[in-house]
Each structure stands twice: as structure tokens, then as C-alpha cells.
């Protein structure tokens, strides 16, 4: 695996570049890596870092699951029915083009500054992307295997589990991958605009206090968490789902 050698080396180079730039910059503007690490330890010991990371992660996961479930249902329905697709494709295009900020602001105005409004705003932003991806998946479903399942009387549950879902798995992974990346960025905006905890809230707070070091702490911590989700959950799942391809 050559990736193992180059990825850490490349990241290390990035940190070194940061350290080098910090030498020539006011530490208020660009704090050096070690100073950020010290601040991170402080935030960790006070419990703040974990609390706000947890709040954000909870929102990310809830919105993610909602968006995947609803988006998949819509996408599969559109992919299977040409009629439904012709009727609703323009809606989907409109939905894809609504700016995230508009959805967030409208959700807060309509439902108040609540947790439900925050999560709904994030999910609604992601649903059209999931639907479009899963629509492609449903269109590509193998008719021959579907016939086989019908002929051998698999029944709806086994057909879904053993015939349909395995074919949709790569599309699910693609949607999940781009979904989680988009969602966690939107969650920060939602927190900034209308929540009183979470990474987005903290970043907003330290923006007002002009504390660039702590903004770095929260941003980097959350990047690390999301990378852990990618490496620890998404990639192993993908390997499991595609193990039959390995000949």
C-alpha cells in the first residue's frame, strides 16, 4: 500500500509549512501548530471540546440518516417509474439549486430556532443529492436477476435484501460519502445561525472573540472526527459490501 507512505508524509509537510509560515506571522493571526495543540489540550480538559464535538456529531448523524433514508426512497421510486420521474424531475432540479443558506433560514423562520428545524434544514439540503444518485442506481437494476427472483419466488423481502440492495450498495456508498462531507459543513452553518452548542457555535463564538487558535482547534478536531468516520466506518463497510468482486 503506497498510500500509507505518502499520505502521512504529505500531511506532515502541510504541518511543517504551517509551522514555517507561523514563524513569520503574528501568532494572533496564525498560531503555530504546537500552540494550537496546547489550546486543544485545554479545551479537552475543560470538557468543552468533547461536548461540542458530540453535539455536532449527533446532528450530523441524525441529518445523515434522515437524508439517506428519504433521499433513497425518493430516488428509487423515481428510478423505477419513468412516469414519476418525468413528473418530478423538474422539482428535483429546483431542489438541487436551492442554496443551503436559504433552506436553513426558512427552516428557522418557519419552525423556530429549534433542534428539529436545524436537523430538518440540513437533511433537506442533502436529500436531492441522495435522490439523484440512487435514481441512477435504480435505473441500472438488473432485469434478468429480477426475473430470476420472481421465477424462483424469492418474495419481496428476500428480493429486496439479496437482489436489489446489493446492486444499490455502490450508489449508497457514493451518496453516503458525498453526503457526509456536505452535511458536516452545513451543520456548522446551522449551528452558527441558530444553536447554542456545537462546533459551529464555538467557531462563531471565537470569531467574535478573535481567537484564531481556538477556531483552529475546533475546525481541526472536527476534520479528524470526520476522517475517522470515513476510515473507520465508510471504507470498511464498502470493502465488506464489495467483497464478492475480489476474485
Amino acid at each position: 500500500m503506497p498510500g500509507l507512505v505518502t499520505v502521512p508524509a504529505s500531511l506532515l509537510a502541510l504541518v511543517l509549512l504551517w509551522a514555517l509560515l507561523a514563524v513569520f506571522t503574528d501568532p494572533e493571526i496564525l498560531p503555530p501548530p504546537l500552540a494550537v495543540l496546547a489550546l486543544a489540550a485545554e479545551e479537552w480538559h475543560s470538557g468543552d471540546l468533547l461536548f461540542h464535538l458530540g453535539a455536532t456529531l449527533g446532528r450530523v448523524l441524525t441529518a445523515f440518516i434522515l437524508a439517506m433514508a428519504i433521499g433513497a426512497a425518493i430516488g428509487i421510486a423515481l428510478g423505477l417509474s419513468g412516469k414519476a420521474n418525468r413528473a418530478f424531475d423538474p422539482w428535483l432540479i429546483v431542489a438541487l439549486n436551492i442554496p443551503a443558506l436559504v433552506t436553513i433560514v426558512l427552516c428557522y423562520l418557519w419552525f423556530g430556532l429549534t433542534e428539529v428545524a436545524a436537523i430538518a434544514a440540513v437533511a433537506v439540503n442533502k436529500i436531492p443529492n441522495v435522490a439523484v444518485t440512487l435514481r441512477e442506481g435504480a435505473r441500472a437494476l438488473d432485469r434478468e436477476l429480477a426475473e430470476m427472483a420472481r421465477l424462483y419466488r424469492f418474495g419481496p423481502a428476500a428480493t429486496l435484501r439479496h437482489v436489489i440492495l446489493p446492486q444499490l450498495a455502490p450508489f449508497m456508498t457514493a451518496a453516503a460519502r458525498s453526503g457526509i462531507a456536505l452535511i458536516w459543513k452545513i451543520v456548522l452553518v446551522v449551528e452558527l445561525l441558530g444553536r447554542s452548542n456545537g462546533v459551529g457555535f464555538q467557531i462563531h463564538l471565537y470569531f467574535q472573540l478573535f481567537d484564531i487558535g481556538r477556531i483552529f482547534v475546533y475546525a481541526i478536531a472536527f476534520i479528524l472526527v470526520m476522517q475517522a468516520v470515513e476510515l473507520g466506518i465508510l471504507q470498511p463497510w464498502e470493502r465488506h459490501a464489495s467483497r464478492w468482486r475480489r476474485v
Binding site: E144, L145, E147, M148, R150, L151, Y152, R153, F154, G155, A158, H162, V163, P166, W244, R245, V247
Partner: protein, 236 residues
């Protein structure tokens, strides 16, 4: 099983017309005819995969179908592929036994993508017979195999047919194969296609030596070519 097809069309094109067919229990019928005449269409009607036709059908309940491509689920191992069709609630004992009868013991955990075409065909046959069908439909089950593998699979098919005794309806273009395996040969031909010939083969299979097979398939070739009933089918 019994079927009477008044008419089957795709779009405005009438493909099949006035086809009555009874498959006796335990019989081995081979269906042949020019490419594109409607053999697969007829099989799909019998299997209930095509319901857009005029006519009626009975006795089509307990069916299995050996597709031209084996149509195994690539993401499930062989045991699961057969279990899902034959014993969804069971633990796979029957499915494992079915794999063994086609010489695939030890391949329970193999994914279909790792198999040769011959092995995948055998797995498809194992699945079809594991459901203990009353009627077994087969669409060109031995094409794209080398002659040795095809020959083995023909023997295996006849062996299992003798044991389980479904009524078989098998489509093939290989007339020597038809001559060697069938106890009845149907020739489908024309547009719309009708049954142009319906021949019984009384000769026991162990007495169908290569000379006889060559002779019979030669006559069959003339029939398929003309699309007409031979003057004296009994003499074949």
C-alpha cells in the same frame, strides 16, 4: 402442463400464433427452430415471465428455468444462491446436496464470479433442480461451452432428469444435441411462428450411436430449414 397460445405480439409484430402444446409428465421435449422465430418468447410465456399474450395455460405452477446466462447473484455465494431459491427458511442442507449432485461440493462459499462458465452452468442447473420442479424449462443451456464440458453437462442433465423426472422443455440450435437427448422434438418456424413439426423419438438413448444421431439430425436440419413437416415423420 398444457398451453394454448392464440397470439403473441411485440408491438404490431405477431410472433406466435395458434400454438397448442401439452408436456406429458416426465417427458423430455426439445424445441428448435430458426434464430429469432420465438423460442425464448414461448419459454418466457410458459414460465409466466411474459404475461402479455392471448390464450390460456394450466399446470404451470411448479416451474424452474435454466437461463441461457446462469443468472446467479454475483454477491452471494453458491450455497446462498441455491438456498434462496430452494429452501429460504432452511439451513442449506438441501442446497449443499444439490451442489454435490452437480459436482460442486467444496464450492459452497465460492462467489459466482470465480467460477468457469461450465461450473456456473452447473450451479444454475443445481438451483433449478433443487426446487424439485414439475416442469423444467431450459434455454440453450449448453452454448458457449467447449464440446467436452457441454457433453458432460448433457449427461448430468439427463441423469438428474431421470432421477427427479420433471417435464423438460429445452431450447437448442444444436440438432445433434436434440437427437441425442429428446424423446420429442418440436420445430418452431415461420412468422408468426407455428409448430411446424412435432416428432417422437422412440429409440432408447443408449442405442442412439453417433451414426444414428448424425442421420437423424441431418433430417431434422432439412425440416428446420424448410420449416415444413417432413413427408413421413414416423420414418425418422
Amino acid at each position: 402442463m398444457r398451453v394454448a397460445i392464440e397470439s403473441k405480439s411485440f408491438g404490431g409484430d405477431e410472433i406466435l400464433k395458434d400454438i397448442s402444446l401439452t408436456l406429458e409428465p416426465g417427458s423430455f421435449t426439445v424445441l428448435t427452430g430458426p434464430s429469432g422465430c420465438g423460442k425464448t418468447t414461448l419459454l418466457r410465456i410458459l414460465a409466466g415471465l411474459d404475461t402479455d399474450w392471448r390464450g390460456h395455460i394450466e399446470g404451470a405452477e411448479h416451474l424452474a428455468y435454466v437461463f441461457q446466462e446462469p443468472r446467479l447473484l454475483p454477491w452471494r455465494n453458491l450455497l446462498d444462491n441455491i438456498r434462496l431459491a430452494a429452501e429460504p427458511a432452511g439451513h442449506g442442507a438441501e442446497a449443499a446436496a444439490a451442489l454435490a449432485t452437480v459436482g460442486l461440493e467444496g464450492y459452497e462459499d465460492a462467489f459466482p464470479g470465480t467460477l468457469s462458465m461450465g461450473m456456473a452452468r452447473r450451479a444454475g442447473l443445481a438451483r433449478a433442480l433443487a426446487v424439485k420442479p414439475a416442469v423444467l424449462l431450459m434455454d440453450e443451456p449448453f452454448v458457449s461451452l467447449d464440446e467436452a464440458a457441454a457433453g458432460q453437462l448433457r449427461e448430468l442433465t439427463l441423469d438428474l432428469w431421470r432421477k427427479i423426472r420433471p417435464s423438460v422443455l429445452m431450447v437448442t440450435h444444436n440438432l445433434a444435441e436434440a437427437a441425442a437427448m429428446a424423446d420429442r422434438v418440436l420445430v418452431l418456424s415461420g412468422r408468426p411462428a407455428v409448430i411446424a413439426a412435432d416428432l417422437s423419438l422412440d429409440r432408447p438413448r443408449d442405442r442412439r450411436d453417433s451414426g444414428w444421431v448424425r442421420d437423424f439430425s441431418g433430417r431434422l436440419r432439412e425440416t428446420v430449414g424448410n420449416g415444413a413437416v417432413p413427408a413421413d415423420p414416423g420414418s425418422l
